[in-house]
Subunit: 449 residues, 2 copies
C-alpha cells in the first residue's frame, strides 16, 4: 500500500502495517465490505439516461483510455481533440451505449497536464448520457468532480447526495495499490462518487499461470481496496471489477477474449455476488484490426460478461488491440453485438395471441404466413432490426460493390456523425464550465514554487 494516507486509514482500523505492507483481519474485510450498496444510481445530464449500477441491470460503456484512434480510411494514429469529439458524437447516438468510458483515447495535440479539462468539457457538452471520471491522481480526479457538479447545476454536497461519476481504480498487480490510484480513489470516494476496483491479473505474468491462482489474487486485491474505500466512507458506491486474462504463450503478450478470459469473467461474477457487490467485466480483444479475431474474442468476452452477471461492461464498444486503440468501425460493430445481446435478454412472448394457433390452422399445410393478418399486424416490429448486418442475397450485395461489415460500419459512423445534434446545455452552465477550465489551466501553467 504505497500511499501513506491510505496506510494511515488502514492502521486506524486495526490492520497490521509493516513498512509498505498492510495485513488485514478477514473479519474486518467481511464486515467493512458488507457496508457497500449492492445497487446505486448515477445521474446523467439527461435524467432519462441516469444509470442504475447493480441488481439485475446491465450497463454498457464505450471504450476508455487507449493511446491511439483508428478508422478504415485514416488507419491507426495518435488522436487529436477534434477526433476525440467526433468519436463522442458517435457514442452519443448509439443508444445501447449507456455510459461513456472517460475519453475514448488521448488527445495528443493537447498538453498532458490539462487535457483532462478539455475532455471533461467535451463530455459535458457533447453527451447527455453518463460518463466516467478520471482518477489518475488527486488533481485530475478533483477537476472531474468539480466539473460534473457544475454540469448538473449542483455543488459537491449535492453531487455526494446523488452521485454522477464512476471511475476505474486499477490495482498494480501483484498486491500493490500505487499512489496515483490511491489518491484518485480517496478523492472519488471522499466526494461520494463511485469507484470500480479492477486488478489486471494477467495469468502467467503478474499473476500465477492458473485461473485459480489469478482469481485468488484478484479477489484479495479487490477486497483490500474495497475495505479501504468503505473505511474512507462507509456505504460508498463501489463495484467488484474483474480483468483476469492470460498471456499468449507464443508471443508473451496479453491475450483477450480467450476461453480462460470467459471463465474468469463468470467466476468473477460469482465472487462479486458472494460479497453482494455490483460486478464489472469488459469486452476485449487482442486483435490488431477489425477482423474475425476481433469479433470472436469480443463475443467470448461478452459471453463471459453477460453469463457472469456483469452489471457494468466496460470497454463494451470500440476497444481494439488489447486496449491500445479505439476503433470507430469496432465501435459500430460492437454496438450491433450489444444490441443483439440486449434483444436476446427480452423474454419470448408466449401469449395465445403471439402463438397464433388460429393463424397456423388458417394457413394450413404447404401455405405461408406472408399475407396472414397475424403477420401483417406484427411485421413492422416483429424482429430485431440490425444496425450494420446485411441481409441481401449474394447477387444484390455483389452489385452494390460487395461491402464487408467493416466497410458498412465505416459508412454507419460517418452517417451518425453527419446526423449528430448537440443536446442543449444551459448557457450559464456552459459559461461557468468555460471559466472553470480557463482558471484551472491558468493555475496549472504557474511555475511550481
Amino acid at each position: 500500500m504505497l500511499d501513506p494516507a491510505a496506510r494511515q486509514v488502514l492502521r486506524g482500523a486495526g490492520c497490521v502495517v509493516d513498512d509498505l505492507m498492510v495485513r488485514y483481519d478477514p473479519e474486518l474485510i467481511d464486515a467493512t465490505v458488507a457496508l457497500a450498496p449492492s445497487e446505486f444510481t448515477l445521474r446523467a445530464r439527461n435524467p432519462e439516461k441516469s444509470l442504475v449500477v447493480g441488481g439485475r441491470q446491465v450497463a454498457f460503456t464505450s471504450v476508455g483510455g487507449p493511446a491511439f484512434v483508428s478508422d478504415l480510411v485514416g488507419g491507426r494514429r495518435a488522436g487529436t481533440h477534434r477526433e476525440q469529439e467526433d468519436f463522442l458524437r458517435v457514442v452519443q447516438q448509439l443508444h445501447v451505449v449507456h455510459q461513456e468510458g472517460g475519453g475514448p483515447f488521448e488527445a495528443m495535440d493537447l498538453p498532458p497536464e490539462t487535457r483532462h479539462l478539455d475532455l471533461c468539457l467535451s463530455l459535458i457538452r457533447l453527451l447527455d448520457k453518463n460518463w466516467q471520471g478520471i482518477a489518475l491522481g488527486r488533481t485530475r480526479a478533483a477537476d472531474c468532480i468539480d466539473m460534473a457538479a457544475i454540469a448538473l447545476g449542483t455543488d459537491r454536497d449535492g453531487l455526494a447526495a446523488q452521485p454522477a461519476l464512476l471511475t476505474i481504480i486499477n490495482t498494480n498487480t501483484p498486491l500493490t495499490l500505487d499512489i496515483p490510484m490511491a489518491e484518485g480513489l480517496t478523492e472519488f470516494i471522499g466526494a461520494g462518487q463511485a469507484v470500480v476496483i479492477t486488478p489486471f491479473t494477467l495469468a502467467g505474468a503478474m499473476a500465477p499461470a492458473t485461473l485459480g491462482g489469478a482469481l485468488v489474487l484478484q479477489n484479495a486485491e479487490v477486497l483490500a481496496t474495497a475495505t479501504l474505500a468503505q473505511l474512507i466512507r462507509p456505504g460508498a458506491p463501489i463495484v467488484y471489477g474483474s480483468f483476469t486474462s492470460n498471456v499468449d504463450m507464443r508471443s508473451g503478450s496479453p491475450a483477450f477474449g480467450t476461453p480462460e478470459y470467459t471463465k474468469a469473467a463468470q467466476a468473477g461474477g460469482q465472487l462479486a455476488r458472494r460479497y453482494r457487490l455490483p460486478f464489472r467485466s469488459s469486452n476485449t480483444t487482442a486483435s490488431n484490426v477489425v477482423d474475425a479475431q476481433a469479433v470472436y474474442e469480443s463475443a467470448m468476452s461478452l459471453w463471459g460478461a453477460v453469463m457472469g452477471g456483469a452489471n457494468l461492461v466496460n470497454h463494451a464498444a470500440g476497444w481494439l488491440e488489447g486496449g491500445l486503440t479505439a476503433s470507430l468501425e469496432k465501435l459500430v460493430i460492437d454496438a450491433e453485438m450489444l444490441q443483439m445481446v440486449a434483444e436476446w435478454m427480452q423474454p419470448i412472448d408466449t401469449s395465445d395471441e403471439a402463438i397464433g394457433l388460429e393463424a397456423i390452422a388458417e394457413v394450413g399445410p404447404g401455405g405461408h404466413f406472408f399475407g396472414s393478418p397475424h403477420t401483417l399486424t406484427r411485421y413492422e416490429h416483429a424482429f430485431y432490426r440490425p444496425l450494420v448486418s446485411d441481409g441481401r442475397n449474394f447477387e444484390s450485395w455483389t452489385e452494390d460493390g460487395a461491402p464487408d461489415t467493416t466497410q458498412r460500419a465505416h459508412e454507419v459512423w460517418q452517417r451518425l456523425l453527419e446526423q449528430y445534434e448537440q443536446p442543449p446545455l444551459d448557457p450559464a452552465i456552459d459559461e461557468e464550465l468555460v471559466e472553470f477550465v480557463a482558471h484551472r489551466k491558468e493555475v496549472s501553467s504557474r511555475p511550481t514554487p
Copy 2:
C-alpha cells in the same frame, strides 16, 4: 403427410387420416416418442472417434449441403469432386469437428443421380471420423447405408445393432412431410440408423411472425415426425432438431444468428429435454463473406446452441451465406471458435496446487510470475493454444504484412491440406466399395423400363 406408406403406418396406430391430413391423439404422441433413447452411439471407422449423441455430450459437425464452395483466392464457385475431397482432407484434421456433415457442397462436375456414391466413397476413404448419411429419397439413403456397412466390415444387421449413420430429415414447413424425406426417414429408421428431425420454421415466412408461434409449429412438426419414426421402429435413435429463425425485414430473406435465433435455440433445447430427446442446433450466418457479421452471427448461434444444451451442433464449421456456400476460411475460423467453446467447458482447477498461495507469497507485491517455479512447471500447457488467432503486437504484425484472420485462415487450411495423411483402409474393403459404386452406377445408367 404426402407419403402413402407413412400415412398407412399412422393410420395403423389409430391416427385419423383425412386425404393427406393426419391427426394425432396427443397420448399416442407422448407414449410413442417416449420410446426413443435419450442417448445413443454412432460408430466411426476409427473406434476412438465413435460419437455419443445425447446426455451431456456436445458433438460438432462440419457444414453439409451447400451449393457452392468458396475460398479467399478462388472466390465463390460451383465446386468439383476434387475440391470436395480437399475440403474433407481439412475436416479430417480439425479434431474439434467430431462428425462430417454428409458432403460439404455439391460436386457439380459429377452427374446428380450418382454423385452421392462418389461422395460416400470419398467420405469413407479420406476420413476415419463419423460422417452423416444422405436421406434425399430411398435410393440415395439405401446406398449410404450399404456403403457404411461395407466400410465397417459388417452387414445391415450388424449396422442396425451398432448404428453408424445419422441423417437430417427436414419437414416441409408448415405442417408437411414430403415424399423424399419420408422415404429417407423410413429407409434410415428401418435400417436402425439415426435421424435428426428438423423443421425449418422461418418466422414471418413459412411460420408465424412470432417466436412463440414458430416454436409451437416446430414442436408439432418434430413430434408428428418423431411419432412416425418410433412407430416404424420402436426405440430408433432420433434427435429433436431446431432451426427456427426469422426473415430479415429489409430484404425478406432468411436471417441467421439473430437474437431471435439464439432464443429459439435455447427454447428448442428446453422442448427437446421435455421429451427426453437429444437436441440438435446449428452454427449459422447470413453473411455473404467471412467478415465481422459472419463471426458475430456464428457466435450468437453457438451461444444459443451451447446454452440450449445442444448435443449435436450441425453446420458447426464452414457454413456461410445462409447455407448456400461452404467456405474454407470459415471452416478454420469456426474450428477456432469451437475449440474455444470446448476449452471454456473445462472446469477451473481450484486445487491448492493450482491456486499456489505459496507462489503468490514468494513473488510478493510488485513482483512477477514469469520465472516462478509454479509458472515454469505449468507454462507449456497452461492456456488454450489458438489455431488462427494472432497475439503479436501491432509492430511485429505490421512487419509481417498485417495479415487479417481470414488471410491467416487461408494459410492454415492450405498447410493442413499439405500435411494430410490418409487414414489406412483395409484394401479388401476398399475394393468392395469400388465394386459397389461401379455396380450401382451401372444399374443407374440402364434405361428405365
